[in-house]
Symmetry: C2
Subunit: 241 residues, 2 copies
DNA sequence: CGCAGTTTTGATAAAGCTCAAGATCTGTGG
DNA sequence: CCACAGATCTTGAGCTTTATCAAAACTGCG
C-alpha cells in the first residue's frame, strides 16, 4: 500500500532540468520541467482518478488542479498520503495494482503515461534513467522528511511545516490559496480537523499568518523556524508578503 | 536530510531475486540476495560509520551486526531513521553529502561500494537498472507504510508494528533478540522511552509477548492485528514460537 | 433566503510526556 | 566467583497536548 506519498515531488523537487522536455508555464514566468506528454484528460471536482486495487496501468502528471491520494484505514478512518500539484507526478507503483485511490480536489486536468513505457525509458536510455533515479531518490527523501516532521512534531510544527512546504511547492511567496479542506489537512498530518482549526487560530493570534477562508498569508518568518524545514528556509525569500 | 529510513529495505524487501549475485546464508537455510561485493570492514560497538555532512562516497551493505542511522534535531533530540540488518543496504544519497549519521549497534561487519559505480550500473545495464529501480520503489513504499503506522497509531500499534516488522525482516518466527536499546526504539517510533517500556509491560500483561532482557517472544498473533501490518500478516506462519 | 458543507469554538477525557525514583542487567576488577 | 559501578529498564505521579463530543458561526450556492 501507500503509494502516492512520495511521487508528489518526483518532478517538482528534483533538479529543475530533470527531464528531457520542458515548457514555459505562464505561472510566475518560470520554467517547468515536464516528463509526460500526451492528451489531457479532465476531471470534475471530487472525481476518482483511480481506486485502490485497480490495475496500475498509468502514471499521471498534473497539468491543472490538485489531486489527493488516499487510503481507508482498517478502523474506517481516512489517511491522505499526498497532495499533487501541477507539474507533479503520481500513480507510480511497484506492484501491479494501485495501493491507494486518487481523487481530484476541484476540477483538474491530467496527462497519463503507460507504466510499461516508463520501464523502457528507465532501462534503455542512460540519461533518462539517471534522471528518473534522482527523482525517485528525491521523492524518497521528501517522504522521509515529512515523516520526521510529522512523527516528532507538535500540532503547530506539523501545520507550520505543511504551510511552508506547500508555499514552496506552489512557488508562492507567502500567500497561498489552499485547495484542500481542513479535513484533508488533518488526515494528511495525522491530526483531528478541530486541532487543525485551533492551530490556525493560534497562528493568527500570534501574528504568524492571516487567513480569509482558504487563503493564507504568511506574515512572519517565525513560522519557518517553527516548521523546522531548514532546507527550505535556506532558500526562502527574505521578505514575506 | 533524512537518509536511511528507506534504504534499510532496499535489498531485503525487494523481490528475492532482485540482484545479480546471490549467496547461501547459513541463517535459516534461505538464500539472501547480495548486491555489493568487496572487502569487509569491521566496526566496534557504537562506532560511527559516517557522520552527517561527510561526503557520501560509498554505499554500504551490512554483513553482520546492525546499524542505525540517526540525526540530531534542532531541539537537541535524536531521531533514529532506520535500523539496518544483515543484507540490507544503506547510505545511498541524492546529494553529495550524507544527511544523517550511521552508527554500528554492537560489533558489525560491512561491505562498501563506491556511489559512482552504482551510477554506472543504473545507467548502463538495463536489467540492473530495473532491479535498482524496483528496490527504490520498494524502499519508498516501506517508508510510506511505516509513516502511516507511526503517524496515525497509538503507542501499542507503533510497538506492535515495530516488533512484527523486525521479526519479519530477521526471518524469525516469533522470537527475536533485539539488538537495540529502548532508547533507540523510542527515538525510532517517536515515543518516550518510558512509554516504550510501559507498552512492553502492557503486552506482557496481555499475554501477547514474553521478554527476558532484550529477547522477545511473540506469543499471540493478536499482536499482528494490533500492528495493522496486513501485508506481513498475509505471509505470516500460522504458529508462533 | 435557506440549506449543506465547512470551519471555529467550547468542555471534557484520554494518551503520552516529563520528572523522579527504584530495579535490573552487564561488564570489570578484585 | 563476587562485588560494584554505570547503564539500561521499569514503574509511579502529575501535567500537557490532543482527541472527542457537541454546538455555534460561517460560506458558497441553488
Amino acid at each position: 500500500m501507500f503509494e502516492g506519498l512520495a511521487e508528489a515531488d518526483l518532478a517538482r523537487r528534483s533538479r529543475p532540468d530533470a527531464f528531457s522536455t520542458r515548457i514555459e508555464t505562464p505561472r510566475r514566468g518560470r520554467t517547468q520541467s515536464v516528463l509526460l506528454q500526451g492528451p489531457e484528460r479532465s476531471y470534475d471536482a471530487d472525481a476518482t482518478i483511480y481506486a485502490q486495487t485497480e490495475p496500475a496501468d498509468f502514471i499521471y502528471q498534473v497539468v491543472a488542479g490538485v489531486v489527493r491520494t488516499v487510503t481507508l484505514r482498517p478502523d474506517g478512518r481516512r489517511a491522505v498520503h499526498g497532495f499533487h500539484l501541477p507539474g507533479e507526478i503520481f500513480g507510480l507503483e511497484r506492484e501491479k495494482l494501485h495501493h491507494c485511490s486518487a481523487e481530484a480536489i476541484g476540477a483538474s486536468r491530467l496527462v497519463q503515461w503507460p507504466q510499461r513505457r516508463l520501464d523502457a525509458l528507465a532501462g534503455g536510455n542512460a540519461d533518462a534513467a539517471r534522471e528518473l533515479w534522482i527523482g525517485l531518490l528525491t521523492s524518497r527523501d521528501r517522504t522521509a522528511e515529512r515523516f520526521m516532521h510529522v512523527m516528532h512534531g507538535t500540532a503547530s510544527e506539523k501545520l507550520a511545516y505543511f504551510l511552508i512546504d506547500l508555499t514552496w511547492r506552489m512557488r508562492s511567496e507567502g500567500r497561498i490559496q489552499l485547495p484542500m479542506s481542513r479535513y484533508d489537512i488533518a488526515d494528511y498530518l495525522g491530526l483531528a480537523s478541530e486541532t487543525v482549526s485551533r492551530t490556525f487560530t493560534v497562528f493568527r493570534a500570534r501574528g504568524l499568518i492571516s487567513t480569509q477562508g482558504r487563503e493564507v498569508r504568511l506574515l512572519s518568518d517565525e513560522i519557518l523556524r517553527l516548521s523546522g524545514a531548514d532546507d527550505i528556509a535556506a532558500h526562502w525569500p527574505t521578505t514575506l508578503a
